[in-house]
């Protein structure tokens, strides 16, 4: 067994044909993770005990001849902003270095119920704020494709772990591109489902009107399987959707003949030539599969970054108010209560969190609400309207994920605005709440992966997976 290239189907086959037991597989996954993780720092915690206990449950099911869950025995990494009971969850923040959650996130409960084996907690940008994974209090993640480059962010560890092979699939979170951009940079599949498709109960809140949980994997099928297992209404998350999830694997029939794909022209300016060339080849591959392609326009795109950084920071400033030295593990002592809050937060948060708390507090402060937050919510409505109108004419949209492939560590760290602008093609999907994903679309001459983004209308993950899977089956872009 080669743990670093396994897929869910191969795990299932191996267990069924008794090539290995779940315990053997898990031990090998843990051994590989212990040995290889120091190269990338993708995992912050490797969860030996929890993983072996989960594997044992699967082996007992096999021994008893019971039907196995869709994720039986599959080694899974979980982003460290998603709570795991009795397993340290840091949000990559110094503030939560020793935080032990008293309960599991719904997504974690569901993936374990499906037989999944949580092997570790994935590094990320602090509180999921960043586009390079350099904002982790526990050191950056290195891109397994090129260790001098960033894996993208904020779910950089989740993407790098799957690319490196220390997990077969993983969970990340996406608020402005935090799943798709690292998937693109690391050459793996990453999916941001419809807003509300996956319960956020147990996901540490960053920007509640934008936060999503979603899967990473080495092929489209595995992301579909993982999403299927965690999707669906949850009474513990009042924003989770009541709409039932379609059968994603059944939808992936390889046939996209006659499908109408829109290319939003605003997404094809300002990207590097190496990325543009690959996306163009990807579009050609879709045409060869029988899809028809037409240019469309999403005119509000240019305003998305501004709207996004108002909304997400406003919500973050409120959500992060709870880290005040009272309930969550870390406190800097001071003479007064307010002094203690200020000292704790001043010592505990990293630079990017502070910047976003400050911007969010500023835009919500007296006299500025209408000019900033309300204005941004109106622009957000226009962005959604752009998509709704486009989907009256086409079944899906195809764009680049990022204007450029993975950049070098430190390259954009000193200029926050430049870092923010790198999310230009991904934040619109989050603002509109529509499903969107990154599927690998070849490599640049320098060997760096590039991702192609596919977006569909609300709750049409099935349509999105069908396109991505057909593209992948056809060989994609070589």
């Amino acid at each position: 067994m080669n743990i670093s290239t396994l897929t869910i189907d191969e795990v299932r086959r191996g267990l069924r044909q008794k090539q290995f037991s779940a315990t053997e597989l898990t031990k090998e996954a843990l051994r590989f993770a212990e040995a290889e993780n120091p190269k990338t720092n993708a995992l912050l915690t490797i969860s030996q005990d929890r993983a072996l206990a989960a594997a044992e449950r699967v082996d007992k099911q096999i021994a008893a001849g019971e039907e196995l869950g869709p994720l039986a025995g599959v080694p899974i990494a979980v982003k460290d902003v998603i709570l795991t009971k009795d397993l340290r969850t840091t949000c990559a923040s110094k503030l939560l270095e020793n935080y032990i959650p008293p309960y599991d996130a719904t997504a974690v409960i569901r993936l374990e119920q499906a037989g999944g084996v949580v092997v570790g907690k994935a590094n990320c940008d602090e509180f999921a704020m960043g586009s390079s994974n350099e904002n982790s209090a526990f050191g950056p993640v290195r891109n397994p494709v090129d260790l001098e480059r960033v894996p993208g962010g904020s779910s950089g560890g989740s993407a790098a772990s799957v690319a490196q092979g220390t997990s077969v699939v993983s969970l990340g979170s996406d608020t402005g591109g935090s799943i798709r951009q690292p998937a693109s940079f690391c050459g793996v599949v990453g999916v941001t489902p419809t807003y509300g498709r996956v319960s956020r109960y147990g996901l540490t809140a960053f920007a509640s009107s934008l936060d999503h949980i979603g899967p990473f994997s080495r092929n489209v099928r595995d992301s579909a399987t993982l999403l299927q297992a965690i999707a669906g209404y949850d009474p513990y998350d009042s924003t989770s959707a009541h709409a039932p999830a379609a059968d994603y694997l059944a939808a992936m029939d390889g046939n996209i003949r006659g499908l109408k794909i829109g290319l939003p022209k605003e997404y094809f300016k300002g990207l590097t030539r190496e990325t543009g060339d690959l996306i163009e080849k990807g579009i050609d591959a879709l045409k060869k599969l029988g899809a028809t392609v037409q240019e469309v326009s999403l005119p509000t795109t240019d305003y998305a970054i501004s709207a996004y950084y108002i909304i997400c920071t406003a919500e973050a400033s409120s959500n992060l108010a709870r880290y005040d030295g009272v309930r969550y593990t870390t406190r800097t002592n001071a003479d007064s209560l307010t002094g203690m809050y200020r000292a704790t937060r001043g010592d505990g948060f990293g630079a990017e969190c502070k910047r976003r708390i400050m911007l969010g507090t500023y835009v919500l402060s007296a006299g500025y609400y209408d000019a900033y937050y309300l204005k941004a919510q109106k622009v957000r409505a226009l962005i959604l309207k752009d998509f709704t109108e486009a989907f009256e004419h086409v079944d899906a949209l195809v764009t680049p994920v990022s204007p450029f492939p993975a950049f070098k560590l430190g390259e954009k760290l000193q200029d926050p605005m430049e870092m923010y602008l790198s999310d230009i093609y991904t934040i619109t999907g989050d603002l509109a709440g529509i499903p969107c994903m990154s599927v690998p679309c070849g490599r640049t001459p320098a060997g760096l992966p590039v991702g192609m983004q596919i977006l569909t209308k609300h709750f049409d993950e099935a349509g999105m997976f069908r396109i991505a899977d057909a593209f992948e089956r056809s060989g994609g872009v070589q």
Binding site: A241, S306, F349, R355, L359, K375, P416, M417
Partner: protein, 99 residues
């Protein structure tokens, strides 16, 4: 300048965030750059646009309400377990009211 260092200090107080002098200086620069970019929104006429207050909510207002049934709560001991300082089942904080 969209924002001064004095305003940065005021906002930091609102956010209960202690910043060093260096941080105040850098923050004023960074926020100024971001706010300047954000000004772009004023190019758009949104006078006839309803703000998007809800992302997706195509069900009845009451759909999120659950049955009022008992369930076992976390319990005080578990709830305060992660507190930096606790005692007698409470979170402990510095003195709030002087006697």
């Amino acid at each position: 300048m969209k924002i001064t260092e004095t305003e940065v200090r005021y906002v930091a107080d609102l956010a209960n965030l202690r910043l060093t002098e260096d941080e105040v200086h850098k923050m004023a620069h960074d926020l100024d750059e971001i706010l300047t970019h954000i000004d772009k929104l004023n190019e758009l006429d949104t006078s006839a646009v309803e703000p998007m207050a809800q992302v997706l909510h195509n069900v009845d207002e009451t759909a999120a309400l659950r049955e009022d049934v008992e369930r076992t709560p976390l319990g005080t001991e578990t709830a305060v377990k992660n507190a930096p300082v606790s005692g007698a089942g409470y979170f402990k904080v510095p003195l709030v009211i002087e006697r």
